[in-house]
Each structure stands twice: as structure tokens, then as C-alpha cells.
Symmetry: C2
Subunit: 418 residues, 2 copies
């Protein structure tokens, strides 16, 4: 593993040419969470990538990076994992998108009910948004109620119910949402009281992983309190593990609290990059789950399910979460020591395998942008305002090399007087 | 090509064993449009499939079928098309779900703006529902209005806005939908008048392809009238080509009418079975499209886009639509002659490449179930109440063989006194 600093091409000419072409045929040049613009990301960030292998990515200009975004989560065993790809390819070779499902759907549902503690059943879809929306619809079908309690600023998907954007969203899309403050039981109780008797579900992420903010782990009191309230008012507790699934605890993110949800939404990492989402639920909700009409043309395809089965078992076999914790801890400790030595106050929050960074007195993200810009030019993809993701493919050598780059980046922003 | 009648295993023991296992871990044993149950499908229908190649499918018990469902649409070049799979695999081998898109998204957007007549831009997602919902949100963002006019009973996806099911759906989910009757301009005008000044969009399929009903091609008057009304009231015209895309006219289903939509929703066949959806739009809507927040973890993955590019160009090269029309016409004419000779009144409607069948005086579908049950046992997958799909992989030999099976099936239901 060598850093690619010496060979980083400047400017990124292939990338720039693709951006020019995209500007003509894609609204705004790109859309969604992968849009790189001067407003949202440091100038050195590439927009387009050509290849990935393990924890490394190559942009379209041939520059190599250690990637701490992992595709915003999906890569948990690394890009192009040979075992996962072999499982998917073997199924793919048999054909895809049949007139009915394959045995893979049964095998995967069985595996998920074995590995996810609360799960008596599983259903599958394609987007994380499918899984969160499906969970809400199932809770409404089960309770005959409408209201959904969610933490303010928490992201649960990109449909009009949930999207952080306002364009094209009607008041009716949000009419059944009531917000509370994460880790604040009193605010949750107050939110529930405003719609007493009509709460279908409480949806929460396992920890507060809002963008542009320090992450906040759930407290035992909050997790237990959410569960107790849901039970008391007869609402379903939906744990949104789209972002956290397989990274915190394969049995469920709140297992260490002894708290189990009624429904869990999964996506992102569950098939190591293949498009898949899942909802798992308790037996009490099985009838409601079978009563809702949810479907999609590609929801029964076998290759992503074969990929998911191997992803789940391989992570177990290698203790993938342990690996991510080890390397995440080394990265966090290394960054902390460097920040201190260069005189920066750096806040690192969230689980070590899903870290976010924030500099003190940096409301406009000037320091964060300069720092991550400097690491990206040194072959290390860090994010200035979104939580990052480690994978089990990251190695000690990756962390060491990344810390060389971050040390230089701290020195650079120090020189800039930031 | 030989029919597999002599080797059809009865009962389907592997299929039955999978159903038993699924009943324990999947709500209701299966969900969505691929659920096979005694209530919805004839008893001989398999639930699980093992392999597909071209126009043929094999169930998990090893029985071979000529498949006229094509996975409910996605298969337009046939299962496991070598050229499409090669394009997808080459991209897949480079890794998937990167931290940004690949050049494939630009290439595909360019190809779609070249091949789809109204398209100045394209955006991509995973589900047909993503595409229809995104179109509506873009129209709302562009107009600042809320209401959506849709044809009653028309299917536009499975989210709470659109789903034909009612479980888990709130009144607010449907509050902005106003219905009209397909091919009835007066009813459309009346629907628009009830929400005068607040119509964001009119969404229509290119033809009326409701399940459980005769299909109805759009009239020139209706298509032109929808376009004129949308222009007059400043609403966007959304053509829902999720089901029809690439099967009727690669330039747009209403090109023969000289009618172009503002937005088109695509999915199903556009990547020959790989999970992909697209919205194309006019330049006037590009700014609105760039203002909405829509995204998904797998929306930028390159393999399905590589598959789509080859699907689109290969269909052009071989005149795929012409092939489907030829074989669809032969199937329709053959079935019509057989029905007459056996004394059945059989209604065959819809484009020949997307046919639906209905027997006269068969409101309870007793005859349709018996007929398709008999064809399935003879290795021909027909559907008793949903439109079917031909692909460019269907051959003259397929049609001949299918007509041998359907002739025997007519004879069988005649003997049953239906």
C-alpha cells in the first residue's frame, strides 16, 4: 500500500470533461447525495470514479484513494469482494428478474431471522427508502392509526414523507409526522401526547447520525424509554438501521441495551453494494405485513440476495465489526493526537466505524473543507460534514497511510492559518 | 425447442417445500405482484424459478416453460442475454456502489436524450415507483401546485400515493389525487375543473393496461387532448412508460400521435432485468428537477446502466419491437383461430407485444384460470388477468410450440364444459 500523492493528476481532466457532458443531460449536472459541487464539497473532490478494490477507489483520472465513505455505506467488505461477487455472479448467470422469486429469497429470509434477534420474518426491496416507508405502512396497517413520531433532523429516506428537501413536497405529505428531540424522552412523550391515540409508529435511528452535526449515541434510558412508550401507547417501534445495519451489531443495534424493535429497516451494506433493502419484523406484525401492497419489478431478483447471504455470513466469520472497530479506533486516536499536536480542536463523534469530524469554531466549515480537501489531494477520501464509514476491508496499513496524509493535511491547514 | 409436457413433475415438490419454508419467514408466504396463491392464480402455477435463458424459464422442480410474462416486463431481450450481461459484468468487475457515480451515468443519460424524443435530460433510480413519484415531485416543484390527475384504476406504482391496496394508507396520502376516466377527455376536463389552478401534473399510461380488464389503446383525440389541457392549465404531462418503455416505440409511446410528454417514467425493461429506473424530461423542467431532493444508495451504480445502454442499442440494432410485433401477432391470430374453432369467445386486447386475454361471461375468471392452468401444465406461462409481455427473444418456434399447448388447453377446458 502506497499513497498516491506523487501521482495525483491536477486538474482532474477526465472528471471535468464528464462534468461538462453531464451538465447538458443531467439536471444540475448531478442529483442526490453524490452530487459534488463547490457549495457542498471541497474543490479537490472527484465526481466520477472508475474502479474500486477493497478499501481503495480510483477516480476516472487514475488517482487512487483510501476511501472512508464506502459508497456512503454499502461497502462493508470492500469493493469487488471476491466471495460476495462470486455468490452474486453464480446466481446472475442463471438469469435475473424471473416471473417469480428464486430460492434465494427464502434462504435470505431464514438467515435474517436467525441473525437479527427481533426478526420473525423478512421482506425485501431495493432502496433504504422502500424499507423505511414499508415499515411505516405496515405499522399503520397494524394499528389503524396515522401518525409517525420521528426525531427532528433525522434522515429516514428521500421520499416526500421524509426528504430533508422541501421542493415538490406538499403539506399533506408531512401531515402525519410529529417530531421529537433525539435522546430526549420528555420531548418524545410530549410529541406522543399531541396526537394521543393516533400514533402508528415511532421511528428512530440507533444513534443520532444527522449530517452537519456531532453524532450522539443513544442512551440506555432513551432506548428503554422509547420501547416502553411504544408498548404503552400500542405503537410500533421502527429501528432505522439503513445506515447502521451490519456495522454496529449483526443481531440489532440496540441489543446491548436489551431493546428490540418491532420493525427494522435495512439497506446499504446488507449486500455489500448490490441493490437490496429489507424489513424485518416480529410475529405480531406478520399479518399486517402481509396485508399491505408493496412491490417492485426487481424486488425478487436473486443475485443481490445471494450477495447478501455471503455478506452476512462472511462478516460473522471474520468478525467484521471487530475489524472495523479496531481500525476505526486507530484512526480516531491518530487524528486526535495529530489535532492536538497541531493545535486544532477536533470533535470526533459517532461509533468509531461510522465517524464524523467537526472542527471547533467552524460553523461555515471552512476548516473542515480545507482539511478534507488536503487529505483528498493526498489520496484519502474523508468527508467534511457527513458521517463516514469504515469497512472490514480497511487494513492497519490503510490507517497508517491515511494518518500520514492527515498529518500533512493538518500541517497544511496550519500553514493556511485556519 | 420442444415442449416439456412429458416431463412436467407433479406435484412440484421442491416448490412446495420452499413455500412451506417461506410461510415461516415471509409474511403471508410471499408479498407483492409475484405472490402465487389459490386466490390469485391457477393451481399449477409455480412460485419459484431456478433459471432463465432467452424466452424460457425453468422452475425449481426442473420444468421448462415458454414464458410470456418476462418477469412482468423486465425481460425484453430474454433472460441472461449474453451481450447485456457482458456489458454489465464488465462494469461489475470494476466494483459497484462507489462514493460517486461512474461515467456510465453520463453515457446513459446521453443515450436516452438521443433515443427518447422529448428528453433533454435523464435521472436514474431503482424502482418504477421511484420514477413515477420523482416525476410528480418534479412537476410539483416546477408548478408550486399539489394536485395530480390520474386515470381511475391506472397503476402507477406501489407507494401509498398510488398503491391499489388500502392497508396502511392514510387519507392524506391520497389527498392530492383526482381521478378521471382513461380516453375520456370530458372526464379529464371535469377532474381538472374541480381543482382549478392547482394541477401540478396529469399522469397517464400510454394505453389503458389495468389488470382484470380489457386493455384500451389511447385515441389520437385523447392523447392530443391531454397534451392541450396540460398546456392550457400549465400542468406537466407525465407519461408513465414503466410498463411500456422500449416495447412500443423507443422514441416514446405517443410519438405516432405526435404527442410528447414533459416527463416520462421508465423502469422494468430498460436494463433487461437489471434494477434500474429513469425519468426523462424537457429542458423547461430541468431546473425543477435539480431542485428536488431525491436519492438512493444504489442509484449511481454502473452495472445496471451499462446493461441499459446495451439493451437500448441492441433493441435498435435487431428491431426488437418489430420482432415482438411479429410474434405477438402470430400468437394473437393463432389464439383467435383456436378459440373460434373450440367455440370460445376470447377477447385479446392491448398491443400484440403486451397482450391480455379475457373469456366472455367469465367474471369470476373460472375459464381463464382453467385455460392458463392447462397451458402452464403444458409448459406455457400465460396469465389469467394481467397483461403479458413478449420479448425479442421469443421465436417463431416458441409461438408454434405455445400454440400447440394452447390448442390442447382449449380442448381440455372444452371437455371440462367451461
Amino acid at each position: 500500500m502506497t499513497l498516491i500523492l506523487p501521482t495525483r493528476s491536477e486538474p482532474l481532466t477526465v472528471d471535468a470533461a464528464l462534468r461538462d457532458r453531464a451538465a447538458k443531460v443531467i439536471p444540475g449536472g448531478m442529483y442526490g447525495h453524490m452530487k459534488v459541487s463547490s457549495a457542498t464539497m471541497p474543490p479537490s473532490y472527484p465526481q466520477y470514479y472508475a474502479r474500486g478494490a477493497g478499501s481503495h477507489l480510483w477516480d476516472v483520472d487514475g488517482n487512487e484513494y483510501i476511501d472512508f465513505m464506502c459508497g456512503f455505506g454499502p461497502q462493508i467488505l470492500g469493493y469487488a469482494n471476491a466471495e460476495v461477487d462470486a455468490a452474486a455472479s453464480a446466481q446472475q448467470a442463471l438469469g435475473e428478474a424471473f416471473t417469480g422469486p428464486t430460492a434465494q429469497i427464502v434462504e435470505l429470509a431464514e438467515l435474517m431471522t436467525e441473525t437479527v434477534a427481533h426478526a420473525d420474518w423478512a421482506m425485501f426491496a431495493k432502496n433504504g427508502t422502500d424499507a423505511t416507508a414499508m415499515s411505516v405502512v405496515i405499522a399503520r396497517a397494524a394499528t389503524g392509526r396515522s401518525k409517525l413520531l420521528k426525531a427532528s433532523a433525522a434522515y429516514h429516506g428521500a421520499n416526500p414523507w421524509f426528504t430533508p428537501g422541501g421542493a415538490g413536497v406538499t403539506p399533506e405529505d408531512r401531515a402525519n409526522i410529529v417530531e421529537f428531540t433525539y435522546n430526549d424522552l420528555a420531548s418524545l412523550e410530549a410529541a406522543a401526547a399531541t396526537v394521543d391515540g393516533d400514533v402508528a409508529a415511532i421511528i428512530v435511528p440507533p444513534f443520532k447520525h444527522d449530517a452537519f452535526a456531532d453524532q450522539e449515541l443513544a442512551t440506555q434510558e432513551f432506548a428503554s424509554g422509547v420501547r416502553a412508550l411504544a408498548d404503552r401507547i400500542g405503537a410500533a417501534l421502527i429501528l432505522d438501521e439503513v445506515r447502521t445495519g451490519l456495522r454496529l451489531d449483526q443481531a440489532g443495534a440496540w441489543e446491548s441495551f436489551g431493546v428490540r424493535p418491532d420493525l427494522t429497516a435495512f439497506s446499504k451494506a446488507i449486500a455489500n453494494g448490490y441493490a437490496l433493502a429489507a424489513v424485518t419484523g416480529t410475529g405480531a406484525l406478520a399479518e399486517a405485513a402481509s396485508s399491505v401492497y408493496v412491490t417492485g419489478s426487481f424486488w425478487y431478483s436473486g443475485a443481490s440476495m445471494a450477495a447478501s447471504r455471503r455478506t452476512i455470513t462472511l462478516l460473522q466469520e471474520i468478525d467484521g465489526i471487530g475489524i472495523m472497530e479496531t481500525h476505526g479506533t486507530a484512526l480516531r486516536e491518530g487524528l486526535a493526537a495529530q489535532a492536538t499536536s497541531y493545535g486544532f480542536e477536533l470533535f470526533q463523534t459517532g461509533p468509531v466505524q461510522m465517524p464524523i469530524i467537526r472542527f471547533a469554531d467552524d460553523a461555515e466549515l471552512k476548516t473542515a473543507f480545507a482539511f478534507t480537501d488536503a487529505t483528498v489531494r493526498r489520496g484519502v477520501l474523508l468527508h467534511p460534514w457527513h458521517n463516514m464509514f469504515l469497512s472490514a476491508a480497511h487494513t492497519s496499513a490503510d490507517i497508517e497511510a491515511a494518518l500520514v496524509a492527515t498529518d500533512e493535511a493538518f500541517a497544511e491547514i496550519k500553514r493556511l492559518g485556519l
